[in-house]
Amino acid sequence: MDYTEEQQMMRDTVREFAKNEIEPVSAELDEKAEFPAENFKKMAALGFLGIPFPEEYDGAGMDTVSLALAIEEVAKVCGGTCLSMAAHISLCATPIYLFGTEEQKKKYLSPLAQGTSLGSFCLTEPGSGSDAGAAKTSAVLQGDYYILNGSKAFVTNAGVADTFIVFAKTAPDEGTKGMSAFIVEKGFDGIVVGKKEDKLGVRASDTHPVSFENCRVPKENLLGKERDGFKQALITLDGGRIGIGAMAVGLAQGAMEKAAAYAKEREAFGKTISKFQAIGNMFADMATEIHAGRLMVHHAARLRDKGKPYTREAAMAKLFASEAAMRATKNAIQIFGGYGFCMDYPVERYWRDAKLTVIGEGTSEVLRVIISREILKELA
């Protein structure tokens, strides 16, 4: 696949930054479950947080393929930093770009693209994840304000975010058709960020439940039209899956590189273990699946950039890349043997981080539902 000169330069810059600034702290941030605030400031200054948005909203004016390239480079060294970046861009800034009014874009998208504010996305609830339409959070219009009540779960960046995209039912009896989306600021009355989640992986990303207790949201902060929320959520997640797919590719690539360095050094029975066919086969499978995953992710990204339908391709890309990442990171641990099982060596972190990619923004099971539905619709 060909990339423009700008895309290659951008990828090289992100790679250099990731290697010099992110990788040295990634193990410590994982252990302490600490959000990389310093690195986010640096990433903001370099323009990483506004890659796919037009310059008029303080973005870099690049595209989805570019974003996928950047996300992969960050994931290669730190899944947690990567998830926070991907959620900020794909789940918070993007829906404002796609559905927001000019005023909303100036007020919220520009600072998000500059990285002077950070973003979150509140869709999942304690009782509804894959079945997002069953959400119970409500929004009732009273005068100039919507009053939001309900609880959201597993909200990435919640503890550090300034801007939240919140989905709530304005017509509770109408299922998915009754959902609307709102832009909520962290300073609004009635938004409560709960206790930080202690997670298996992507521990540098900051995850909390968020609840709304008579939270007053000015009516001009409705995103798009009332009752468009569910459709907006699905479109947002379609794009988000390209990001999570790219993240999975990066994690797999990072784990493979670590495993390769180790396999070429570690000796057993008088030769390096890289020379054993059983180990070589693992690398062949990893490399092939990473390549396939990357092509699928970039193909979906390219479709999105051309304004063509990409729901199915994004779902396939994320499904394949994330499951490939699970296999690759598992094999990376296997190649490291006993050391791979120890936290002093990096590959177990890649495996824990990869586990997020088969769950977040559509579990593998839900993605299979989406893909089969799309395929069967076409073949009927």
Binding site: E6, M10, T13, L46, E55, A60, M62
Partner: protein
């Protein structure tokens, strides 16, 4: 302050080098290239001077087409425009000839300061900068660690041997060769990368520089590049093991009878 930065593209530091059969150079086809390290610091220093005192930073690079990649990186980091001299037709390892060509390009510009790296990571002659200054008829200072602008000129800190430094004052225009590590090299911003394609890269050939084939002929200065080879091992290390008394005896014997130093 108008600053011209001379920047060379060299093979990436940890490249596996394969020498050509005739021993004239290394195979270039499989190599990746990067901005020469000390030139990169020179560019950063130029950008900082421009930010502090305003002005313009112009990149000057000589080399084949691939050099434009390094030029674009420099433009993405903030240089204003660039000049590319394609030397495919007259590649030479002679710093004198290279400096003459660079000087011809620089003379077309007005400038306050020319910065280059201390030396290149490929040939490492550390001569091009100073010969270039001579060609331009401007004073120069080498191995520069710090630059301070003063009224009518600059004051620079030079690195000497054994931890000694020297401050020297120079008028403008002048030329400095920059030591690696004097600042922290910035990353290109993504906006910078996007803007780089809109910046001018002027391509200049020999005729535009007012030079002829004979000006760039190899060997005219007497410098002949005869052969490149991997250093041959001529020393042998021997390690004695065993009882210290016996080992000491053996060592003394070797020093006396083989090395003949005692």
């Amino acid at each position: 302050m108008k600053i011209i930065v001379c920047m060379k593209q060299v093979p990436v530091k940890d490249s596996l080098l394969k020498i050509t059969d005739d021993g004239s150079w290394v195979h270039e086809t499989d190599l990746n290239y990067e901005i020469n390290e000390s030139d990169h610091y020179a560019l950063e220093e130029a950008l900082r001077l421009k930010e502090a005192h305003s002005g313009e930073v112009v990149l000057l690079s000589m080399g084949p087409e691939r050099v434009r990649e390094a030029i674009k990186q420099g433009l993405a980091k903030g240089a204003d425009r660039a000049i590319h001299i394609d030397n495919s037709s007259f590649t030479t390892q002679d710093p004198f000839v290279n400096a003459r060509v660079l000087a011809a390009a620089i003379k077309r510009e007005e400038f306050d300061l020319v910065l280059s790296g201390l030396q290149t990571d490929d040939y490492g002659s550390a001569q091009t900068g100073v010969i270039l200054a001579e060609n331009l008829g401007v004073p120069s200072a080498t191995i520069v660690m710090e630059i301070q602008k003063q009224n009518g000129g600059i004051k620079v800190k030079r690195e000497l041997e054994s931890g000694w430094f020297q401050w020297v004052e120079l008028p403008l225009p002048s030329l400095l060769t920059i030591q690696s590590g004097i600042n922290q090299i910035r990353y290109a911003t993504i906006k910078g990368i996007m803007m780089a394609k809109k910046k001018e890269i002027k391509a200049l050939g020999l005729s535009e520089l007012g030079l002829s084939e004979s000006d760039v002929e190899e060997g005219q200065t007497g410098l002949v590049f005869s052969k490149i080879y991997v250093p041959e091992k001529t020393k042998k290390t021997e390690i004695f093991e065993g009882d210290p008394r016996e080992v000491a005896q053996k060592l003394a014997d070797k020093l006396k009878n083989e090395a003949k130093v005692i």
